[in-house]
Subunit: 308 residues, 2 copies
C-alpha cells in the first residue's frame, strides 16, 4: 500500500465521515501533514480540535480564515450533506490553489457532478467525485473512528476532465485508511446504490408507514417479530438524509422502483393463481443468492479493484 | 402461573416447535406426564427419544401403535408443516378420546380451521387452533430448547364450538413453557401476520430476485452493505415453507400486498414530483413508530393478555 503524504488536508464537515478520514490518516498515513476542519462556525469544529481529530478549525463565514485554510491544501474533502455541496464548492472555487484536488463523500453522484460543474466552472478538472461506503448509524465527530474505512469500499467516479494523477492522489488517500477503492461512472454508481441501498430504504419506510395507517396498527406492532425487526431496521434512518437521497437520485431510484413493482406484480400473480412452483422457484433463487452473498463475506468488499 | 399437569401429551412432528414444547414442559411443568412423539416412521422420532425430549416414539403408519399413543391423551399437538394438518387430523379423528384436546402450531389459521372442519367433522369442538410465535432459523429436534417460548407470544384462535375449559387447558400448557398466550379470531390472526411477517418476506425475496434478473447483479451484490444485509436476511428463509404460507394465507396476503403497492405509489409520486416535505413526513412517521417499537421491547410481547 502506497503511503499517503500530504502537507495540508482540509475537511469541510468534521463528523463521522470526515472525522474518521482524519483519524484513519493519523493512525496509518506515512507522513501526515496538517489537517484543517471547516464548519459553519468555528465553534462547530472546535470540538474536533479538542478531541485531537484535526489540528486547526476555520469558520466558513470568515473570509480570511477560509482563504488561509485553503492556501497550500493538497486535498479538500467535502463531507457535508449533499444539498450543501454546490454552495460549498461555489464558496471555495475562487480560493483554490491550482494544485489542490477536491473530492466529496456524497451518497449520490450524478447530482453532485452537475452541482460541481455549475459551482467550479473551468476548475472542474480539480474535482474527483467520491463516495466512501461506511455505516452511518451514529454520527458526529465523537463517533469518528480510525478504523471506520478498513476493508470498506470507497467509490470514485472520475470525470473526463480529471488527470490521472489527481484521481490517484484521492485513491491513495482512501487506501491509506484501509479502504478498497473502486471506480465506476456516476450513472453506474447511482444505479447500483439505488438498487442495493436507496430502494430498500424506501421499501422499509413504506412497510412501517402502511402499518401505521391501519386501525389495528398497535396490535400488528405487538406481534411483529424478528423478520419485521430486521426488515425495518433501516426505517429508523434519518428522514432528512433519506429525503435528500431520494430527491438527489430521483431518476435512478424511480427506475428501480418501477422495476421492483413489476417483479412484485409477478409474485402477486403467482400467489393469486396459487402457482406454488413459480413462487418456490423465485424464493429458492433468492435464497441461494442471499446465502452466497453472505458466504462471500456479506458487507465486506470482494477485493481492491482500484484505479491503476 | 397455573401449573400444567397432564397424563399424556402426544406431539405429531418432534422438531424445533414440538421438541421445544416438550423440553419446556419437562423443565417447568408442575406434574409432567408421559410425552409421546409421532413421526412418519418410528425411526424419525427415535432421535427425540435418544435425546430425552420425549418418552416414547410411535409411527404414523402403524395403526395399532397410533391408537395406543392416542389412548388417554389429554392434549395432542400437531407441529407438522401446515399442508400435512388435514391428512393428520383425518388420520387421528376416529382414534381420539372424547376428552382429548387437539391444537396445532401452524403459521396460518383460516386454512387450518377449514382443514380441521373437514377432517374432524363433529369432533371440531375438540380442536383449539394455535400458533406459537417463535424463531425458526434452525430446525429439527436437535435445535429444540426448553426456553424457546419464554416471553414469546402464542396466539390461540378459539372456535365457537370450543368449550372454555379446553381453550384454557391449551393456554395453561403454553404458559407453563413461559409463553404469553393471546387470543384473536383466525381472520384477525391471518391479517396481522400477513402484514408484519408474510408481506415482509415476500418483499425481501422480491428485492433479491429483482437484482438477480439484472445484468450487473454481481456488481450490485458487491456493493450491498448493512441495509441490504438486514432487509434481505429473511430472503434466505425456506422456499418451501414460504411458498406454503403464501398459498395458505393467500387472501390476507393479497390484500396487504395491494395496500402496500398503494402506499408505494404515493411514495413514488412524492419522489417523482420532488415533494420533499411529503417524503420527509412519511419517513419521520416511520422512524418514530419503528423507534418506539424497538424501545417498547421490540420482539418481546407487551404482556400476557391471555384467555381469562
Amino acid at each position: 500500500m502506497a503511503a499517503f503524504s500530504f502537507n495540508k488536508l482540509v475537511i469541510f464537515g468534521v463528523g463521522l465521515i470526515g472525522g474518521s478520514l482524519a483519524r484513519g490518516l493519523r493512525k496509518r498515513a506515512g507522513a501526515a501533514g496538517r489537517i484543517v476542519g471547516v464548519g459553519r462556525s468555528a465553534r462547530s469544529v472546535e470540538r474536533a480540535v479538542e478531541l485531537g481529530v484535526i489540528d486547526e478549525a476555520a469558520a466558513l463565514d470568515d473570509d480570511a480564515a477560509l482563504a488561509r485554510a485553503l492556501q497550500g491544501a493538497d486535498v479538500v474533502l467535502i463531507a457535508a450533506p449533499v444539498a450543501q455541496t454546490e454552495p460549498l464548492l461555489a464558496r471555495i472555487a475562487p480560493l483554490l490553489d491550482a494544485h489542490t484536488v477536491v473530492t466529496d463523500a456524497g451518497s449520490t453522484k450524478s447530482d453532485v457532478v452537475a452541482s460541481a460543474r455549475r459551482a467550479l466552472g473551468e476548475r472542474i478538472a480539480q474535482f474527483v467525485p467520491g463516495h466512501p461506503i461506511a455505516g452511518c448509524e451514529s454520527s458526529g465527530v465523537e463517533a469518528a473512528l480510525p478504523d471506520l474505512y478498513v476493508d470498506r469500499n470507497v467509490v470514485l467516479c472520475p470525470l473526463p476532465e480529471n488527470v490521472a494523477q489527481d484521481v490517484e492522489r484521492i485513491a491513495v488517500m482512501w487506501r491509506a485508511t484501509g479502504a478498497c477503492v473502486r471506480q465506476m461512472s456516476e450513472a453506474q454508481h447511482d444505479r447500483v446504490f439505488a438498487s442495493v441501498s436507496h430502494l430498500p430504504h424506501v421499501l422499509s419506510f413504506a412497510l412501517v408507514d402502511q402499518i401505521l395507517a391501519t386501525p389495528d396498527a398497535a396490535l400488528k406492532f405487538s406481534f411483529a417479530a424478528g423478520g419485521f425487526r430486521d426488515f425495518t431496521r433501516i426505517a429508523a434512518s434519518s428522514p432528512e438524509m433519506w429525503r435528500d437521497i431520494c430527491l438527489a437520485n430521483r431518476d435512478a431510484l424511480l427506475a428501480e422502483l418501477d422495476d421492483y413493482t413489476r417483479v412484485l406484480a409477478t409474485f402477486r400473480a403467482a400467489i393469486e393463481t396459487s402457482d406454488g412452483a413459480a413462487l418456490e422457484a423465485a424464493f429458492a433463487r433468492s435464497r441461494v443468492a442471499r446465502t452466497e452473498w453472505q458466504e462471500r463475506g456479506g458487507i465486506r468488499p470482494s477485493g481492491d479493484i482500484a484505479a491503476k
